[in-house]
């Protein structure tokens, strides 16, 4: 019978879908739980608050956390104005559809550039050509450039969603373009922008490749005092080095602890982004 073949095929399809979905999600969940439990075993207040000793084998990760926070804040301060300006130019000051489309494609391609290329370019330009040596500023700048496409696209999407009546009302009130930008366009698209920035930042915080040649060293740095020759320690690079000494059990345990702290940081930043993301979704529906 034809229909019974149809039903059998359908049952097989449903079975396969459930099977692959179940395997995927449960394996990933298992891995995640493993990561958390291993991390929590080696986490303590002392681990968080004391500096590293004996090349990562004992001691904590205080300066690594500090360094990662310094990088994150630098990135935030650089990416905020740059992507705001870029998005305003892209969606307000330029109206030619062709130029807009080209810029958009350009941004998508930039978004795909492998992060290690940022590291190499930064190494050549900042570390060697400008002679800055390793510096926290270079790291923050490169990370900002890495997430710039994401944040710019987020803001310009937010601007495109603003209902035209708001802008027309502004024009009818006789507002100048600058006034419209600051009192209508930016406030109305702020949630989209902020959620884009925070999601980008969550990605930047965990990156190793752009900063390993340009900003961070494994040991011997504390709080940077200048820009030139002022490297920092950072969590991703710390883990990267400890993994390569993974035959040492204590180094390994510290790597788990550091990974957990890094993941927590990423989750924290994405968590802060969540309400803004929801609001941006609501704005999109109106």
């Amino acid at each position: 019978m034809v229909s019974s073949i149809r039903i059998w095929k359908n049952q097989l399809f449903i079975l396969l879908v459930y099977l692959s979905g179940f395997i995927t999600v449960s394996l990933l969940f298992l891995g995640f739980i493993l990561l958390l439990s291993k991390g929590f075993q080696s986490l303590s207040l002392e681990f968080l608050l004391s500096p590293m000793r004996e090349g990562g084998i004992s001691g904590g990760i205080f300066y690594q956390i500090l360094g990662t926070l310094i990088l994150a804040i630098t990135t935030l301060f650089i990416v905020f104005p740059l992507s705001m300006g870029f998005a305003l130019v892209k969606s307000i000051y330029i109206q030619k559809a062709f130029v807009k489309k080209t810029m958009e494609l350009f941004l998508y391609i930039l978004n795909g550039i492998p992060s290690v290329l940022f590291g190499i370019f930064g190494f050549f330009f900042f570390v060697k050509y400008l002679g800055w040596g390793k510096s926290w500023f270079t790291g923050g700048f490169l990370l900002a450039m890495m997430i710039l496409p994401t944040t710019t696209l987020a803001l310009s999407e937010g601007i495109n969603r603003i209902s035209s009546e708001y802008i027309e009302n502004g024009l009818a009130l006789g507002m100048r373009k600058t006034q419209i930008i600051f009192s209508i366009i930016l406030p109305q698209s702020f949630s989209s922008f902020l959620s884009g920035v925070l999601l980008g930042l969550a990605r930047a915080v965990g990156e190793t490749a752009p900063i390993m040649f340009t900003a961070t060293i494994f040991s011997g740095a504390t709080i940077p005092t200048g820009v030139k020759e002022s490297p920092i320690l950072s969590l991703p690079y710390h883990i990267f080095n400890l993994v390569q000494e993974s035959y040492h059990p204590q180094a390994l345990s510290n790597a788990w602890g550091s990974s957990l702290v890094l993941i927590m940081l990423v989750i924290l930043i994405s968590g802060i982004a969540l309400p803004f993301r929801l609001r941006a979704h609501e704005e999109a529906k109106v």
Partner: protein
């Protein structure tokens, strides 16, 4: 009509009402800074990377002889490693990614779907160095044990790198494919079901054709990620130079250590290369090849997306 008004009111904004505004000037400066950086980066790759193509000519990409001490550079084994590892990663992750995307979008009730989706998106945010840690500690011994009949030298193999990459890109591919499937309107499913089609037929004939551009774009994006991933691959691939088997279709290289473009670029050889023009140019040449690969794949993904939108809106 609404759209017409929308366009025109923003078009008014684009006309300079004042010859000069501070906001406009700053926006322009910031845009120029960003564009300058990216153009500088592209120029850097082109100018510093191209001399090696003049020196080694085609043998830079066809020969597997990278010996920087005798000034000989052939990157074939790295290009081979990059392509093999990322394609295998896509092949490995696609059934799982698509299966779970179909499950969440077509079968799960909305209340569970939200949790699955947020969990998967959480995984997409986990830093690559953490995936590297998991790969070194769990996958490496497993691969060594399971594939003992193939007598691998260690657990650091191209296969290990592919599996890690497959896990890393799975959340991206799954989440974006799920978005594409959800983007198909409910009516298509309801009409097909009401005609008496089974779930499978509904999916294959009603949903899939409309979601396929989005799924292809998701796969291409995953591929782009896989090509450019550095840290996790670096930790598990073994970083052995110039391994290239005689036959392209032999499975042997999968169980041997190898090298990808990114694992080469991420290594400390970069410090050695700086200051020796040919060696440096060879390294940047590798970067240039990677850049071209990724650029082509992202552009392809955008083209597919664009075609899909055009097709859907008639």
């Amino acid at each position: 009509m609404g759209i017409l008004v929308f366009v025109s009111s923003k078009a008014i904004l684009s006309k300079p009402t004042f010859p000069f505004s501070v906001t406009g000037a700053f926006s322009l400066i910031f845009t120029l800074v960003s564009l300058l950086f990216f153009c500088g980066m592209a120029l850097f790759l082109l100018i510093q990377g191209s001399p090696i193509f003049f020196q080694e000519q085609l043998s830079f990409i066809t020969d597997a002889d990278w010996f920087y001490r005798i000034n000989q550079y052939g990157a074939a084994s790295m290009i081979y490693g990059t392509i093999l590892v990322s394609f295998l990663a896509i092949v490995l992750s696609l059934p799982f990614a698509l299966g779970s995307a179909i499950l969440t979008s077509e079968f799960l009730p909305n209340s569970i779907r939200v949790y699955v989706k947020s969990f998967i998106e959480l995984l997409a945010g986990i830093p690559s160095v953490v995936y590297g840690l998991l790969g070194v500690l769990f996958l490496r011994p497993l691969i060594f044990k399971w594939f003992a009949p193939f007598s691998p030298e260690s657990g650091d193999t191209l296969l290990t790198a592919s599996v890690i990459l497959a896990v890393m890109i799975l959340p991206t591919v799954m989440s974006l494919s799920e978005d594409a499937l959800r983007g198909v309107s409910k009516e298509h499913r309801e009409v097909a079901l009401s005609l008496g089609l089974t779930r499978l037929e509904t999916f294959v004939h009603g949903v899939l054709p409309r979601a396929i551009p989005g799924i292809i774009a998701a796969v291409l994006l995953g591929l782009g990620r896989a090509l450019g991933e550095t840290i996790a691959v670096y930790l598990v691939i073994g970083r052995a130079d110039n391994r290239l088997s005689d036959s392209l279709f032999s499975l042997k290289p999968l169980f041997e250590a190898g090298q990808t473009i990114t694992s080469k670029l991420g290594g400390s050889e970069l410090y050695i290369a700086y200051g020796e023009p040919t060696h440096w140019s060879a390294m940047i040449g590798l970067g240039l090849i990677l850049f071209v690969f990724v650029g082509v794949i992202v552009a392809m993904g955008e083209a597919v997306n664009w075609l899909g939108r055009k097709y859907q809106h008639g």
